[in-house]
């Protein structure tokens, strides 16, 4: 079947990042930027939905377009772009946010242009649940497959709206710490089961350097089985230069791979494979600041790493 396009809504940011080794400014950032770029390695076009200010660096836009990402859904505002400045500490897991400039995001109402509103694979990358619901309302494909991510901020300040989003999802992606917080249990298997009970047909808990867990099926009487659970490792990296965007990359690669299958009803095995693609692409993102590594990949780079990953985890 011919590949399907993907629509990705979320934030587009200007990032300033400090790590124990180096510092970089005016970087391409934002959940949707990473996700769209990652998806572009599996299917094109990828329709980006977001908002940028008058000050957004043109070369970032150019790079995205060169990867088959369309920007018709990106609103250009007279305000200043959303910006994030943060610092990673020695272990590269803990980070401190120095400054968040919401700017154009503050009053953003997501609008999906008619020309891309029927895109069947819908990615709600990390943004406010209100924005995610607006994007869903503007996405009119039927059938469709909806995938969403979130973050701790929304669990804390928009919990009810986030639950509204969850009811609409085919696949919900969340990281480990957030999953524990959101479900009130430290046991991740139980957390996955409880997330399924909130509505999504599939749930992925991202474990950072430890991989990911996929849960699927009816939450009532859910049990670990070959039809309901998959455990993927992460590709081993001896150096992490900048983990920003790894989770967004995972999300985008996963969605792009699913879209490349040319359908909207996926088997459990399709989603297993998608988790692996997500893990592979996320590992590249960690190797350089921002999207520098991600944007320069070849299909051979990806295939080679996937093959190595297979051997490193097989027994």
């Amino acid at each position: 079947m011919p590949k399907l396009p993907v629509i990705v809504g979320g934030t587009i940011a200007i990032d300033n990042v400090i790590t124990p080794q180096a510092e970089a400014k005016d970087l391409l950032g934002g959940s949707a930027s990473y996700a769209a770029l990652a998806a572009s390695y599996f299917t094109r076009p990828v329709h980006l939905v977001g908002i940028i200010g008058h000050d957004y660096p043109q070369h970032h836009i150019d790079m995205l377009e060169a990867h088959g990402v369309t920007l018709d859904g990106v609103e250009r505002s007279e305000g200043e772009s959303f910006t994030w400045s943060g610092e990673y500490h020695d272990n590269m897991n803990d980070r401190t946010t120095h400054r968040v400039g919401l700017n154009v995001l503050e009053s953003w109402q997501v609008k999906v242009p008619a020309a891309i509103s029927t895109t069947p694979i819908v990615v709600l990358a990390n943004m406010s649940p209100d924005n995610q619901l607006q994007m869903l309302a503007g996405s009119t494909a039927s059938p469709r497959f909806v995938i969403a991510d979130t973050m701790d901020l929304w669990i804390n300040i928009a919990n009810e709206r986030l639950h509204d989003v969850l009811k609409e999802l085919d696949l919900f992606v969340i990281n480990e710490g957030e999953a524990r917080e959101f479900t009130g249990t430290a046991n991740l298997i139980l957390a996955g089961k409880r997330l399924l009970a909130k509505g999504p047909r599939n749930v992925i808990i991202k474990l950072g350097e430890f991989g990911a867990m996929l849960f699927t099926g009816d939450s009532e009487n859910w049990e670990v089985s070959p039809q309901t659970f998959f455990r993927s490792a992460a590709f081993p990296l001896h150096e992490v230069a900048d983990p920003t965007g790894a989770g967004d990359t995972f999300l985008g690669a996963l969605a792009g791979y699913l879209a490349s299958l040319g359908k909207t009803d996926f088997s459990f095995d399709d989603i297993r494979q998608a988790v692996v693609k997500g893990s592979i692409l996320a590992s590249f993102t960690c190797e350089e600041f921002s999207t520098r590594k991600l944007q320069s990949l070849t299909h051979e780079d990806i295939a080679t790493r996937e093959q190595l990953f297979k051997v490193l985890t097989d027994w």
Copy 2:
């Protein structure tokens, strides 16, 4: 080739454990108890080396003997047995030690009886590096394969002696937090490489609920490759009743499996398989207090779980 016996030295304890759900007293505990019992599912006899006091419960001894564990190497002292009392908190990872009674351990000098001194698979379960070196001095098999574990306490108060142990090892097993502390890096791939540089020919970093990493080969110019690195997941558990001894179980099962191969020179693939056996047995230990689950397994239980584990992690 006929299976080889294993010799396991370490602590034999009386444990008192509190979890958020329950409490249990006078439990079989200690690094060597778990390791010997786990090894017994793969090869017999398993020669236990340790020390107990006059107050040690006879039914624990009986249970070990019923599993093919010999106690000729266990010294019976007139003092009181080593005892540990601790409490697990909500997340079942953090624990508080309420009381450690070293008792008979305090002045223990490991003696290996002549009849078992030539056992070729030697396990130095967690005990002081001094005790580990004493056990090594009493183990005269040639060729032999020596596997050791440790804990944060020895990294802190017996660092130099621990380094002496490391130079003698074929395989060193350590948990994630200790590996980071011991090597001064948060990156586990780098930590593994640095541990190899301390002497052991193989290193395993245990990741608890996230599995394990195996490193092998010359530490100079070491790189991740199919010949030098293996990443195993952990079997998913929706409820952890008591994680005490899971790491010791991992160690013992791994050693028992290797011994069952009837040789002392192992291929990388042999050790990969051993890591999987360790993960499987450790998952059982977590399911009930102390060795209650571990001691009641059948070979079919183990085979069934291994098969399920394979399917849950394959792609």
